[in-house]
Amino acid sequence: MSHQEVSPATGRMVGGEWLADNGSSVSITTSKCRNCARVWFPPRAVCAGCASADLDAVPAGPDGVVYASTVVRIGPGQFAPPYVLAYLDIAGVRVLAHIPGQQGPQPGTPIRLGIGEIGADNNGPIRSYVAIAGGAS
């Protein structure tokens, strides 16, 4: 899978293959179908709407808004509950991300997507999408 998995020093990354780190900010890669215009995340080789293989990779983010959030207090140990999850609406796709801290933001809160540690297991830290308050929307 992703190159991060064979390099313990950088830890594992969930969804890292669809994320571009641009230094001060990050973007995710979506797929837009040239045939039916549907947009997908994670990106796809074949459109899950019309089965066309003619898709463009379109970068999206990092700014979006919270659709909903929760504080997970009973959950898998590698994420060390309590942890905060939120669905983020970013450029036409909905993305799940962790939110730092112990409070779930209200729907509509502007956020900015980044990368961060979301947990750890026997192979070391697990990194993935982490959103912080204050997107520019």
Binding site: V14, W40, Y67, A68, R73, Q78, G92, P107
Partner: protein
């Protein structure tokens, strides 16, 4: 297509049965069903067993214990909708004329997993990020409260109502009423959902006998008609989704109502998928039992009580009965059968003649739920 009837139902009481595996539980339900209906195994032409965690060939491992072997037998996995999907396939077999008599059951042992949240499908990005079912429903709840101005106490009234109903159900995992204070004092699971907003993980099994009118008329047991049996899958997309409107439920129910020639106002009782308190409100709205954004008012105003406008979860729902995943959809149909044939004692909804059962299953990204089944049953037997 010809008429299909439910002519018998059996439930192995839900609860904690760590000493019994799914096949043991399924056997008990199916053996009780044959005994009650006096059906001999050679009359059963096809069998379907629903399970999510019961393992390969569960249906064979159950049915061969009661002399049903050699005939076509299928094990069906559709997450929480597995048992109802098994019933749907049995309905297809009878409706098409392929068989005169079929058994559908669901069986599950969740004690094997220990406590906590259920393991979800692997190879799913959201699950790899830490998504669990209570979190998905918690986010639905947060958004519903935000959009429609409902309160946590309004949500808690679902738990209070369903636990009150379940207190009278000898097949329920929890047979005790609770009050709002108890809900508010229970442990937080995923904000705003507390433990008593969540159904328990349970072990159990349920079985139904489906048959043609001619077959039903030769049985000692009463029968009810399956006026509609519909299964749909989730509509996959990864764009913005209104999580307060379970589209899969609305689509499945609309087809079922049309097939049966019935409307929501015709329904006397509903057993729906109240895996979490918020789920009853969302699904009740999508089933047309309350206006959009008003489902919580219907609960608070008593409209969904056993003697209310339409009884919702009169058996106690998943919140009382518990949720042995693959068995849930089948047991809802058992409860509806007993309601329509006047066999549920204290649970009885007065004058019940139309029942709807609804179950949705599955936590995978990109859909409301993976599968949904709706059955409409009517008291006009064979």
């Amino acid at each position: 297509m010809r008429g299909v009837f439910v002519a018998g139902a059996a439930v192995e009481p839900f609860g904690k049965h760590p000493e019994l595996n799914a096949a043991d539980l399924g056997f008990r339900a199916v053996a009780a069903l044959l005994q009650q209906t006096s059906v001999t195994p050679d009359s059963v032409e096809v069998g379907f067993g629903g399970t999510s965690f019961g393992g390969s060939l569960l249906a064979q491992r159950v049915l061969q214990q009661v002399g049903i072997s050699g005939v076509p037998v299928f094990t069906i996995e559709n997450a929480c909708a597995s048992g109802a999907s098994a019933v749907h396939l049995a309905w297809q077999a009878i409706a098409s004329g392929t068989a005169e008599c079929a058994i559908a059951f669901g069986a599950e042992n969740l004690s094997a997993f220990g406590g906590g949240t259920l393991p979800l499908t692997t190879n799913d990005i959201e699950i790899a990020q830490g998504m669990v079912m209570p979190a998905a429903y918690a986010m639905r709840a947060q958004r519903y409260l935000h959009d429609f101005g409902a309160s946590i106490d309004d949500l808690s009234q679902v738990s209070v109502k369903n636990r009150r109903n379940g207190a009278d159900n000898p097949r329920a995992h929890f047979q005790s009423a609770i009050d709002l204070d108890a809900v508010a004092a229970s442990r937080m699971v995923a904000d705003p959902l507390r433990l008593l907003h969540c159904c328990p993980n349970s072990d159990g099994a349920a079985a139904v006998l489906l048959c043609s009118a001619a077959f039903a008329r030769n049985l000692p047991t009463p029968s009810v008609r399956i006026a509609a049996s519909v299964v749909r899958s989730g509509a996959f997309h990864t764009s913005f989704r209104d999580m307060t409107w379970p589209d899969i439920t609305a689509r499945t129910a609309e087809i079922a109502y049309r097939a049966a020639g019935l409307e929501p106002a015709d329904v006397d009782l509903v057993e729906l998928h109240d895996a979490f308190a918020i789920a009853e409100i969302l699904h009740a709205e999508a089933l047309g039992l309350a206006d959009r954004g008003k489902g919580y008012r219907a609960v608070v105003d008593g409209e969904f009580d056993r003697d209310g406008r339409v009884a919702v979860s009169p058996s106690g729902g998943l919140l009382s009965r518990g949720h042995p995943v693959g068995a849930t959809g089948t047991t809802q149909i058992c409860e509806a059968y007993w309601q329509l044939t006047g066999q549920v004692g204290a649970l009885q909804v007065p004058g019940a003649s139309v029942a709807l059962t609804h179950v949705t299953g599955g936590g995978i990204y990109g859909v409301d739920n993976g599968a949904c089944a709706v059955h409409l049953l009517t008291a006009d037997g064979a």
